[in-house]
Amino acid sequence: MAELKSVIDLLETGSPSSTVEIRLQINGATHHLRIEPRVSLLDALRENLSFTGTKKGCNQGACGACTVLVDGERILSCLALAVQYEGRAITTIEGLAASSAGEDSLHPMQAAFVEQDGFQCGYCTPGQICSAIGMIREFQDGMPSAVTSDVAASSMELSDEEIKERMSGNLCRCGAYVGICDAIREALDSGVLR
């Protein structure tokens, strides 16, 4: 009886318990879907909308393979319900390359990963790249990190130690970390980000 009441009360607020109809803004396009509230953003992307570039690694927030950008900020799509992110601008690895005259040109971070061999098997790469883009934006916004010696300082350098700390939420089982750090450094130094 309590369960029935719960469903009725939530029906009154406009949210039936079995499925909900939502609109997700992904890579600049609107997608309509009807899903159960329990579907994660990761599963909605991969299983409902075929954006399979975003990878499922641990599915418990430990590996970072599912990292996507929401309004430019990096988040873990496995620890997010799709319904929470209605109305937000979601960017996946598929949405990073710029398209003009039918030709795709890689995002500078993607190009740097290719140039610096920032991967081996490639499974963690979409998450690494989305995370790196979000990380650079955080740094450019003045965000300190756990290894920043003085969090009250108004300016800081993005040392290799800083890059490693800020990227620690993305694991690479192949151990391509040296190439990943070099790629992020190259993308940052190229000055084309932001």
């Binding site: 939530l10 039936p16 318990s17 159960e36 329990r38 990292t67 873990l76 955080e138 969090v151 939420g169």
Partner: protein, 336 residues
Amino acid sequence: MKNFAYARAETVAGAISLLSRNANSKFLGGGTNLIDLMRENIEQPDAVIDVTHLSRDGRSDSGIHELPDGGVLIGAGVRNSAVANDRLIRERYPVLSQAILFGASGQIRNMATTGGNLMQRTRCHYFYDGAARCNKRMPGSGCDAIGGFNRMHAILGASDSCIATHPSDMCVALAALDATVHVQGNGGERTIPINSFHHLPGDTPHVETSLRSDELITAIHLPPLAFGRSSRYRKVRDRASYAFALVSVAAALETGAGAIRGIRLALGGVAHKPWRAYKAENTMLGAKAVRETFESAAEAELSGARGYGHNNFKIELAKRTIVSVLTELAEAGGVR
């Protein structure tokens, strides 16, 4: 994960009303802990009430506000990364900014809310393992961590029912800063001091906080602390980043003429709640700001500590980390 009804609350009153009207419902903040627990079937709500879209009604907004007395009010919906990067917090309470930055990963800090961080549940493996006995998950079933693999477990304030630790870094800094938790429920608004917000396990380890079943956390208040600038957070863990604490220390120190004028000390990773080290603080006030003072203070605080086998090392580790952090603060001159 069991399916559930989902609703977005638009006001604090609306959120509380939805919670009260729906048996077995949960508030949803960033979701970084709750969704994981739901996926493991440890939490099985029938309804989830999203409180990250509350309108700015002056109490529940997503801002960080400077108060006339020099304190700061942080809305419960403010993301952990926004608190860590806030200019006021970084300058007046660097220990809080650091503690947040030492927790989780960049992605998770962008999702997690201030209120949600307070409501994190333990990361005890036996709590997560449905095949294990756990008094927190199933009251009365027993505790497999006692006598089990308990390297990560509590050394202070534990009980025969539960030796789990509280996983938050942010809350350790809040404990040192004497923060106050603002909550609202059917009975109106009230405030709860952070150091009585989380409970020790006793024989009811499933009762983790003072929050009532109809209440929503709306804000965290940081009172002014003149020597807050002279504060820092140290976290000792099994890897250099992105791991839960074995032991952590949040401290603030004020010195004058070589003596300790003001001291705040809290420990993480050692108890069922963020552990405010009142015993140690009391031995240090007025004493010389030297290593020997810090050592005897650490001894006093850990005198009642108890190891459970694999975690015996934490007792010595906690003492050494306290001494190291306080020595660093003293050498930096007490107040920056």
